[in-house]
Symmetry: D2
Subunit: 354 residues, 4 copies
């Protein structure tokens, strides 16, 4: 068998499931047979032409699978091992990686923005029957036998990103944390704030299903921005402002809201991707006067990150499966994209089975 089915981007609003040639593992690489994958909000941006990738690219960056081929120089694995691969696949050996900025991996001595995110971005991705994994030695995380593919699937990107919103702040014991937007990333940020010991966790959204899920993920208060003055309510609940505000959507409203909700000296942890112009509310941000910090994080990857996230699921500390609301085969992926794009039917995340 030389070919496989894959989801190929052909141009804005034009993705097709088609037969393409199967990848093979070169030096330091591996090929996995994808057993489960999903669709990310970023994939929607790609589909709509808002985030540029080359036509002909296989998209998708969240793979669970089984090792099919191991390239020269990859050790400690065997064909058939079940593995999880993070959305970001650092090489571990460049200037950025050796500085600890795995997500900004530059594959060499220089720096390249977004360099760590390769699969489904600059090289072929995971919404396919097979995936070539670069820098395999650093990126194949074995999945414990006790865990199902669905338990592992969301760790690749949204749990790693969402948790990092809490970790980058960092959330401290007894903190008051407010999370703007309770989509899949925001929900994981909510879970992350709980895992790190916040005492007051306020989840904000305007969708009843998501607010209900926010409670399930750890929010002890949820605010519906359609119904209450969010800023006033946060100030009241926190006695003057949140220690940490996590922004998980990428709009002027959520960014500004998050900044205004902070106490003096508080931290805005921003996860959203801003596609339009962003205005700093200078009365809330006048540099030194507020001692504020703004931190941003691209989904941490690499096999050790994945191992840690798997261990949290394995020990029962975190259960991502309630976020998987819909399931499709790879052939049905166009319908999955449509539903995911519409945010209809209470959809949060889909599981795609090649």
């Amino acid at each position: 068998m030389k070919t496989m089915k894959a989801t190929v981007f052909h141009g804005a609003n034009d993705i097709r499931v088609e037969e393409v040639s199967r990848p093979h593992a070169g030096i330091g690489e591996a090929v996995i047979r994808v057993t489960l994958t999903t669709i990310c909000g970023t994939d929607l941006h790609i589909l709509r032409g808002e985030y540029p990738v080359k036509p002909g690219l296989i998209i998708g960056h969240e793979p669970v699978g089984v090792i099919e081929e191991l390239g020269v120089g990859v050790t400690g694995y065997k064909i058939g091992d079940r593995v999880l691969v993070g959305a970001v696949t650092p090489c571990g050996q460049c200037r950025a990686c050796l500085s600890g900025h795995l997500s900004q991996c530059g594959h060499g001595d220089g720096y390249e923005a977004l360099g760590g995110w390769r699969i489904g971005n600059t090289i072929n991705g995971a919404q396919a029957e097979y995936l070539l994994v670069p820098s395999a030695q650093a990126n194949l995380a074995k999945i414990p036998d006790e865990l199902t593919d669905e338990q592992a699937l969301l760790l690749s990107d949204i749990a790693s990103t969402g948790f990092s919103g809490a970790e980058a702040a960092p959330v401290r014991l007894g903190d008051a944390v407010v999370i703007f937007a309770q989509g899949p990333i925001g929900l994981c940020a909510t879970a992350g704030a709980k895992l790190m010991g916040a005492s007051l966790i306020i989840g904000i959204d305007g969708d009843d299903t998501r607010l209900a899920m926010a409670r399930r993920m750890g929010a002890n208060v949820v605010l519906d921005y359609r119904a209450v003055d969010v800023l006033a309510e946060v100030k009241r609940l926190t006695g003057g402002g949140a220690d940490v505000a996590i922004e998980a959507l990428g709009t002027q409203q959520t960014f500004e809201g998050a900044l205004r909700c902070l106490r003096p000296g508080g931290t805005l942890s921003s996860l959203g991707v801003y596609s339009g112009k962003l205005q700093m509310p200078h009365d809330a941000f006048s540099a030194g006067l507020g001692d504020h910090r703004i931190v941003t994080t691209l989904c941490p990857g690499g096999k050790e990150r994945m191992r840690r996230l798997l261990s949290l699921v394995q020990s029962g500390r975190f259960d991502p499966t309630p976020l998987i609301t819909h399931r499709f085969s790879l052939d049905e992926i166009p319908q999955a994209y449509q539903l995911f794009g519409e945010r209809s039917d209470g959809i949060l995340k889909v599981a795609i089975k090649p």
Copy 2:
């Protein structure tokens, strides 16, 4: 003697040196006889009506003096001790202070933005013959005999603020650091980057005198933005972007330049006070994608901070005196304000002797 000379703000562009009643020390307070003080860029904003204070306020927040009165409950000092007081005077006992945010001191259980900066802001200030020091136990730093008043003067605000620009990043051994604007704060940030072990320190300004002083304070490269493409040059010198960019002016240009100069994962340390609208360059700041951090710092204060800065001068590690370019008596302070406002005659900082 019941009265004293002081610099009183009466309204926009109206400050007068006049006789006012002398302060006396209440519980936990002290009064110092001011022997040297200076004018800050923030005082210019006050003078111009851009930063609001109440008419009738004595302005100025950078005092060197001698203890004249000690209130009940202040121990370990005696009348006549030479002391330095930071521009920010934390109480040490409120929620913010006990959380380590001394600059955002709230004087109680709540949070109040800018709470730590009191003298010359919400209570009477230092451009006078006498100054009442609140929370004296936490704010009187004894000046070693070996040091002159001029050696201590600039530590109260600009050195503490400038150094904190490097500390908040933090600058690490071997970092490439670029400092936008080489006014007094930026020059101290340059000195701070050197003190913390940066290997490449790039100072940026458009004024020859300041660029020359930048070299003296530790810059190994200076760039004149009138003559070169700063962004391209920084990228070239750093091999892809600075580890840390310190912004020390508070304009759209310096903020945006600082953000664009960063390598992926780099930190913008912002010291300037932005009075107008601030636009985020979203191609440089798209949250997680760049793993950037923006940190802001209000001048750290308190006697322990001052003790540490004094120790750096005492050991010869830092010499602030070249920044004092002009000297005036208190009566001449209107001329000093004029010259300082015009930035003429190569002025950097003035020393005012009451």
Copy 3:
């Protein structure tokens, strides 16, 4: 009423409940009527003459109470407020406090070991009807109405200390943490490791009741050192060593076990007080070769710390009440000391009601 009942240390193995004069609040101080207190392991050391205090001292350092008197200069409180006071009462205004080392408060410009722990150590303590609280502005934490005295009691010392064992490391998301000794402090350290997001929490002790309580506090594995080879088992469970080991007893065995259990680069967080000679196992600790860290922490205090701990109880994230196994009146405190010293009857912590 001029006198009160109090627990007075008269010499080794000689404490008596007797009538002594009531304290009154001086400048910056407060007096609280103690409504609940407890006995600490350190009090046992005092009783046995192993930790030196002056004869005549009222002992005890964990008070819950009601404000009875407020000294001059203490604001924001009123007589009758229910408050919690930490075992360590920092002044907030000395060199150590302003450096962020509240526990090592020196009450002045110098440093003094243990300076922050005053009540029941260098000044009169809490096992009495009334307690004088020094530096009251920094140390009175209001108790939310929803919480009972018993819910607040253990936060003063053991929860603050135990949690700090996890915070000082710090425990990171997905860490493997092992806690040596599951007495009250170790149990709180176990709870702290859970609150901070450890995935694997291994509690070690040789007492069945304590091992059962360890599970309740968050351990997902417990090891009985009487039955298993602890070191081998930890290495096996963690795949090479723990990220963090918390030592909560203060013996050669627990210290050495904790050090040997670490992975290369791991951290030993030590809470125990070592009274005898301590031998470093140099094959486990050969400095740089293992990249190990050893951190120690004295119970963090101050009203902001107490506020944060109260918020964790209020939000249901932590419930300390199962640790209170016995209750006594102040008159019965000698029996309480005896039972606590014997560690009999499944005792963990006692509540003493004056």
Copy 4:
């Protein structure tokens, strides 16, 4: 040419320069022609049989050289590039490396103590004409043309280790730092404390030449332990204890002195390798009571670390060349070992030219 000269360990006190076969580069490896190397204190331990290596091993771990062969998969370099290789050669792709513990590289999914230090320890080393560099992509640091081999040589180990003593603490602006022992590592720790902004740097030794060099490297006070009571003097100079004490010898005396010199809350940064039993002075270390920290660091390696150190030399911030006091050819290495072992003739470091 198939053979080369190399320094081979044959047993305790038996090293010989002899002809052995030349190495060749496998996948991901490189071979460099060594142009300069040196002898480390650790090599003396090997020579004396105190640190175990396999007979037949080529020793030495501090190479400067020129790329001779590049294995498959190594990119961005060309034959003839001048490079510096750190003593520790992390793979960048294992669990330890991806966690940021490059020095504890485990070359796989487990942890292995000392794993990062391979050359001259578990694989052939640098005191030879040619050296095989493992994980070459992560470990070849190009040397700027402006720098000589001698300027680069000491960065591989002693500067990286010595600086890390200051970085691991970390030293903060205005700190008082005391460094026990002023051998090559201690001298670099002294330079590191200066680079990071300590105000008071106290160097301790009992050798006049080394004390003089300590001043040159940045100490503003030196203490000769033969002449003064070091502990009393440090307490006096620092007003109660050092913020940071760096131990750079590995004896009971230096370890204990460093611990006793600390202020409450201070940090002991330990670089020495302890070969005998180590007694903790429990009156100085009683865990939580002193809030002390003990940190240990194994020489940080990898090409990015080397690049940073090279940049500090290139910018004139650090000059290691005064530490090279003697020069030998590879044939003369036995004499070099003898002189180095005797610490005679004012020797600090030797340069060995193959």
